[in-house]
């Protein structure tokens, strides 16, 4: 029991619950009305998935700067497929997922081919994707595509938005992958101790490529959520996703050095960030305070983690 209480996830869960309750009280329980709660959860889906997309590369000690722009690119591309190419929505959805995975695969291959830090490689691909994302439709906006897809984006089951459920399912799948599948365990083993992993027959190159491909695939899922829930897409999508993609896993206790992940932590951190966001709109606070607060929270979370490690006599 004590070991549960002392985890980072538990701390985050308590903070999230308290914060949610406090906000509910402060808004005269407006937060709990169907409409507000629905919007709260609907726009939580994207930060969760984008945070997970970053987390899977952090798991092997890499970074993916292209997640945000890739999400935008996949979203715009699927918009093009539906509106300009007239293809049905399921094709566009699959294409968005495939596109994300392929770009991720390319990222991974470039990392092992150039032997250069993933940070720089994805910096390059991010720049390229920014151009491509714009190249699809310029500054134009795609809207009025597949009513079915947009309905999916607005639908709710028992008061819970379907896109949020989708994000939860993705989170569970990612958790399952890292916990219960052999490739997932291999990824984490590689992230935790690359040399030991190699002595145990785990291919370092394969782990790197797999992590980047998964990250791209998750960006593809994020794109699908955007297309469904936002009802329109344009070339600016993804610009403001990069920093939150790092904020969620870092607050959630994921180690930048690799080998240690937390799906629960990442999801809870995304929830917290969303909570700050909603408070801002509820109380009409300057939008910029949110950034200030998130910055403070990220730093605070990291310092707290460091402090905890010191108290418990280091990581070992």
């Amino acid at each position: 029991m004590r070991s549960v209480i002392r985890t980072n996830e538990f701390t985050l869960a308590v903070i999230a619950a308290l914060g949610f309750a406090a906000l509910a009280v402060a808004t005269d329980f407006n937060l709990l009305t169907a409409g507000t709660l629905d919007a709260f959860l609907r726009f939580l889906a994207l930060p969760i998935v984008i945070g997970l997309a970053q987390m899977v590369v952090l798991a092997v000690g890499q970074m993916n700067l292209s997640v945000g722009v890739l999400t935008g690119f996949c979203a715009v591309a699927s918009g093009w497929l539906m509106v300009d190419a007239g293809l049905p929505a399921p094709v566009a959805v699959l294409a968005a997922l495939a596109l994300g995975a392929v770009v991720g695969l390319v990222n991974g291959l470039l990392v092992i081919f150039t032997r250069i830090n993933g940070f720089i490689v994805t910096l390059a691909t991010m720049t390229i994707l920014e151009g491509l994302r714009y190249g699809v439709n310029g500054t134009g906006t795609y809207q009025g595509y597949s009513p079915g897809l947009r309905e999916f984006g607005q639908a709710s089951v028992a008061g819970v938005p379907v896109v949020f459920l989708l994000a939860v399912v993705i989170a569970v799948a990612v958790a399952l992958f890292f916990r219960r599948t052999v490739p997932g365990r291999h990824l984490l083993a590689f992230g935790g101790n690359p040399f030991a992993a190699r002595l145990s027959g785990i291919s370092n190159d394969r782990a790197l490529v797999l992590a980047h491909t998964l990250s791209g695939l998750l960006a593809g899922f994020a794109a699908v959520i955007v297309v469904a829930a936002f009802g329109s897409v344009n070339a600016s999508i993804g610009d403001d996703l990069l920093l939150p993609s790092f904020a969620a896993p870092i607050i959630g206790g994921v180690a930048l050095a690799g080998g240690m992940i937390s799906v629960t932590g990442t999801v809870l951190a995304a929830f917290l960030v969303r909570l700050v966001d909603v408070s801002q709109s509820q109380f009409d606070i300057n939008r910029r305070w949110v950034d200030l607060i998130i910055g403070a929270v990220v730093l605070g979370a990291v310092l707290l983690g460091q402090f905890r490690d010191k108290l418990s006599g280091g990581p070992r």
Partner: protein, 357 residues
């Protein structure tokens, strides 16, 4: 899976026989020269495609002014790459510093130079703060500066709203417009006028020379590089590594502030959006110039050439009616090509070394 083992030291190291002497790298392996050639080719290409590229007033002068800004931006990142660190808040440090400059001009009416010094001090201070956090806590520089970036992003807008009610200062300290519009051609001694070089260029050149001097010859710069090369060995060699980390980050903040000032001078306004476009170019310039993220080695000349190359591409494609976003595609491809070439070079160099031994 390949069976080669890790590059571990043999159990018994080779005896005292000297290895084949390290030859100077062949000319083609110098990334700086490659950049210079690419820049030259692009200039020729752009000028033949659109003669407007050589228009001194409309193209060349603004191009030089832009290059000046982004050379300094690149140097700001280079200052911490020397340690193997990153500064994700380079743009926002510039924004906060230019706010301080604008405030000083607006409220105190200080001369141009004094305001600049105030801003530089603020930049160095915020950089030092980041460095201190990194050195004291041992937290990854990426995380610390990322969090700082979030924080400053909020702070800068709030400060502008508080101080101006908007997003920029409506001030024009005397001398700012000269920095913005004048070139040395406007200053004549009798019949002899200067070349058509904007006044901001010497500032960037001085910054580059200063940083180059620091890392090549100054004890401080060398000790920063040694800290980046091997922190444990640096500490065991008597280098105060914590203070060197703080110094490198302070330098990064200072250069970010200078870049912010140059951009403000080019734009003619001290506004909240200064620095928004700094992050990507800050990495592009040093990386194109052959500086990697590992720390311990930097190339100031490479950074200057890297910044020049990106700005030449922007300007040239812009004249050819490409949109800003499309330009990014090409910049990214150039970066990718540069990285792949680096790898190719390394592989070829290895082959040569093997075949000659």
């Amino acid at each position: 899976m390949k069976t080669e083992t890790a590059p571990e030291a043999p159990a018994v190291p080779p005896a005292a026989e000297p290895r084949p002497p390290a030859r100077a790298l062949p000319v083609w392996a110098n990334p700086r020269l490659g950049l210079l050639i690419v820049i030259a080719v692009l200039v020729v290409l752009f000028s033949s495609l659109t003669p407007a590229f050589l228009d001194p007033r409309l193209t060349l002068a603004p191009l030089q002014a832009d290059i000046s800004v982004y050379v300094v931006v690149g140097l700001a990142q280079l200052a911490v790459l020397s340690l193997g660190h990153m500064n994700m808040a380079v743009g926002r440090m510039a924004a906060l510093s230019t706010f301080a400059m604008g405030l000083a001009y607006d409220r105190l009416g200080v001369p141009l130079l004094v305001g600049l010094l105030v801003g530089l001090a603020v930049g160095a201070g915020i950089g030092a703060l980041a460095g201190l956090l990194i050195a004291k806590t041992g937290v990854n520089s990426f995380v610390v500066t990322l969090a700082l970036d979030f924080g400053l992003l909020g702070l800068v807008t709030i400060l502008y709203t508080w101080a101006t009610g908007g997003v920029s200062f409506a001030v024009q300290p005397s001398g700012l417009s000269a920095l913005r519009f004048d070139t040395f051609a406007d200053y004549c001694m009798g019949e002899v006028c200067g070349p058509r070089i904007p006044l901001v260029v010497p500032i960037a050149v001085a910054a580059a020379l200063g940083v180059g001097l620091l890392f090549r010859h100054a004890r401080l710069g060398r000790e920063i590089l040694m800290t980046g090369s091997n922190t444990v060995a640096a500490e065991l060699s008597g280098i105060p590594t914590h203070r060197r980390v703080v110094a490198a980050h302070a330098l990064s903040g200072l250069l970010a502030a200078l870049a912010g000032f140059l951009l403000a001078a080019n734009n003619g306004a001290f506004s909240a959006n200064i620095g928004e476009s700094f992050l990507l170019p800050s990495f592009l310039a040093p990386v194109l110039g052959g500086t990697l993220l590992a720390g311990g080695a930097v190339s100031v000349l490479g950074t200057a050439l890297g910044a020049t190359l990106t700005q030449v591409i922007y300007k040239g494609l812009n004249l050819l009616q490409f949109s800003l976003e499309e330009l990014k595609l090409y910049i990214g491809l150039v970066l990718l090509a540069a990285l792949s070439l680096d790898r190719l070079r390394a592989v070829l160099a290895e082959r040569r070394a093997v075949s000659s031994s």
